[in-house]
Symmetry: C2
Subunit: 226 residues, 2 copies
């Protein structure tokens, strides 16, 4: 358990497996969520688009699982640490309209992905490149932005309600990251290695400041005040 | 509306578009169902396997949609005829256990696929080859068979309950086919062209006899009495 193998100039093999496991699990959750969104989407075009996002998430997840094998890890064990990682977020943020649903996926996965991008700085070079590539698919974000911007163009009430919803989502998503760092010491170590993100054994304000800034930027793309 | 273009030696372009639209819609429904099954599967391995089946269904559906374009049709319009085609089946067959759920997918899609295979005989050669190829993926069936056989090996009560559930599913699935033929005259015409499946403007006993025989064979693979 104490054996760590240096892999490249930064981070350990265990660190890579830990973060790759989280990324793989998040892609599995993204698959499930996109599929659920597809099942209840108002139009056939949306159902088709969302089903393709779901299928793409499966492909991305399998690439990450393959990488875990390459660095000598067990992908199932690595993912199992994060099983149901977003269940609590989902329970607390059950959307009541289609627009809230779109926003929930966009914001929830946005914050989680941002954390993974920051933590990826600590990984070996190949794993880091893979994580950044996997997280660089903006097709779901583009759909959410286009649909919410169109719907909100002449509906101030909707915009105000979604802005409120988005603020709540942001808070809940940051809570997920905080809970993750509290329950997985390895993740905290990885985040600590990337910069001055840890103070006195806890995630610092800097980490949450950056995640909040990205969330604000994301809401701005939708024309919503964070 | 009365213009029909002969395409190959059998069937018309309209017939091909009609059946391809049904197959594409069934693959979309199969995606949604596999994703739902994945979301509630007991183990991570099952979640992964079912998510891959779902992703494969998206790929198959897109191939069928491409074929609709090739023969000059509008894939969205073709699929829209069959939107929510299995909603009634789903409402009537809500599974109460994991095994019932696996069996529902296996039997429900089995019967629908059998109907499409029979009707495909009427299509132009390329469309027929595509439909048969698309419906030739047995990976979900293999999972259902392996898991149900293993679970039932030393549980006679489970086997008896699943056999009962399977008989009900078979009846409901045949009801879906009957309703489809009643609501889509073009499908009835396609089925009529394949053999002596139509009598006095209605689907004959022969069609349902073949579908029932296939259902019985399918149940037999699970060690269940149909």
């Amino acid at each position: 358990m104490t054996q760590t193998v240096q892999s490249g100039t930064s981070g350990t093999r265990e660190d890579s497996i830990e973060l790759l496991g989280l990324v793989a699990q998040l892609q599995l959750e993204a698959f499930t969520r996109s599929a659920e969104d597809s099942a209840v989407a108002p139009t056939l075009e949306q159902r088709l688009a969302l089903s393709r996002f779901a299928a793409d998430a499966v492909g991305r997840r399998d690439r990450v699982m393959d990488r875990i094998v390459e660095v000598g890890g067990d992908p199932l064990a690595a993912m199992a640490h994060f099983d149901h990682v977003l269940d609590d977020f989902d329970l607390r943020t059950s959307p009541s309209t289609w627009w809230e649903r779109l926003l929930t996926s966009y914001v929830g996965y946005g914050v989680a992905d941002d954390f993974c991008r920051i933590a990826a700085a600590r990984l070996d070079e190949s794993s880091r490149a893979l994580v950044l590539d996997v997280l660089d698919d903006h097709s779901h974000a583009d759909l959410a932005v286009a649909e919410i911007a169109a719907a909100g163009a002449d509906d101030e009430v909707l915009v105000a309600r979604l802005a409120l919803w988005g603020r709540r989502l942001g808070g809940e998503a940051l809570g997920v990251v905080q809970a993750l760092l509290g329950s997985r010491p390895a993740l905290l170590r990885i985040a600590a290695g990337t910069d001055v993100y840890i103070e006195a054994g806890e995630a610092s304000g800097k980490l949450f400041g950056e995640l909040t800034a990205e969330h604000t930027h994301r809401m701005g793309r939708l024309g919503l005040t964070a």
